[in-house]
Subunit: 219 residues, 2 copies
DNA sequence: ATTGACAGTGAACAAAGTTTCATAGAACAT
DNA sequence: ATGTTCTATGAAACTTTGTTCACTGTCAAT
């Protein structure tokens, strides 16, 4: 995953802040004014870049309509293995949005079965401590069946810094995939839990969307 | 606060649901399509009414830009369970409360920690259809392991009339147990899904709390 | 030197979206 | 009977907004 440039990150941050403050997205011209661009096309280019890098989705033709990837860019070289787990005694199944299908790359709610629906929470940083913004992803495919996560299941993802051995939702080539995170001699790998797919995916730069905390399986 | 008419409330609910699902507001034409209006002006009038009644704020001229009054605010960090009933236009929301723990084990596996929390009241009492009052129960014991429901899992229960083969939460001797419901020649049995346990519990009088719809398993 | 990615200007277009105008039936209270 | 409010149609005007095209400059790597 490519890194965001400073300006791209600034624009993305501004957009998120705008949503947080106003409850609706800024227009391209709003962004233009904010950053003192002389042309809307400057913004346009940045938005294209943000979309290409997988952190923003635009809805073509629609005004003030965006989705942001529920990601937290994690620098895995930092060894901050601190995790505040969810309160084990109070599992709240209610506060979990279904973000979409996990191989689909982007939140898309068309297939929501009506069991859990959906919120994409605009990420508002800068606020003080807040609970981790969990979300749910529907699993497609069989790459994790040895971890007892099957096609059609829904996994609950929590943002956070993953440890070795955690099952994580990671953005690979713009697609969200579910893999086990392997740290081996200062290298990072992603591993499918299916003996038919034995390979490790080397991963230098990763966008971790979060750590899989639980599986929801329809009966 | 003036009362909202049914249609006004439906439109407001739809807008909130749209934000929840897509992370951006619907356009007037989106609403028009949803409610099958022949004119955008129908929507326009409703939006004016919503604004006059103080539950919605429009940003004049701006596309897909609204704010909702605090009473009508959708907490974007909170998720809703959506029930899609026959009335498409009135969306109901409710949360799933965690009711307590359930005994999936043998009858002598009793350690009643069965303090059940109170169920949440239905949200919109004025409507005809009410959403099923789902709730969650933590599983204790191993009587359902052959159905892949294990100790520590959480099951989502929905009230309703169970069919043959459904896994139900039933009250037996004052304790909630999880069993598969078997209807055999006009008789009713409850069956543990563990081959080490006796197969059938005859049940003449049953209190069914609901049908297990999904399992949540921590990773 | 040249290529290619990145960042930007400036102008213009077309679609999307909001708003206004004219009109009308139904329900309801005066 | 009569006016008012609510709801709705249908068409049109108008603004906002996303998108495209042509062009310029910078910086780093080939």
């Amino acid at each position: 995953m490519e890194e965001l440039t400073k300006k791209q990150k600034a624009i993305l941050d501004y957009m998120k802040a705008h949503v947080s403050e106003h409850s609706y997205w800024p227009s391209i011209r709003d962004i233009q004014a904010k950053f003192r661009f002389a042309s809307t096309n400057a913004v346009f280019g940045h938005l294209q870049a943000l979309e290409r890098k997988g952190v923003l989705q635009r809805i073509p033709g629609a005004a003030r309509a965006y989705k942001v990837a529920p990601e937290a860019t994690v620098d895995l070289s930092e060894t901050v293995i601190r995790y505040e787990g969810p309160d084990e005694n109070s599992l709240e199944v209610s506060n979990i949005p279904l973000m979409g299908s996990i191989a689909a790359g982007f939140p898309d709610y068309t297939e929501s079965s009506g069991v859990l629906a959906s919120i994409q929470a605009p990420i508002s940083e800068g606020s003080r401590r807040r609970p981790p913004q969990s979300f749910a992803l529907r699993v497609r495919g069989d790459s994790m069946i040895d971890a007892n996560i099957n096609d059609g299941d829904t996994v609950i993802i929590e943002p956070g810094v993953p440890k070795h051995g955690d099952i994580v939702a990671a953005l690979i080539d713009g697609e969200t995939t579910l893999k086990r995170l392997i740290k081996q001699s200062s290298k990072i790998y992603l591993k499918a839990e299916n003996k038919n797919y034995p390979e490790l995916y080397p991963a230098n730069e990763l966008v971790i969307q979060g750590i899989a905390k639980s599986v929801v399986r329809p009966i």
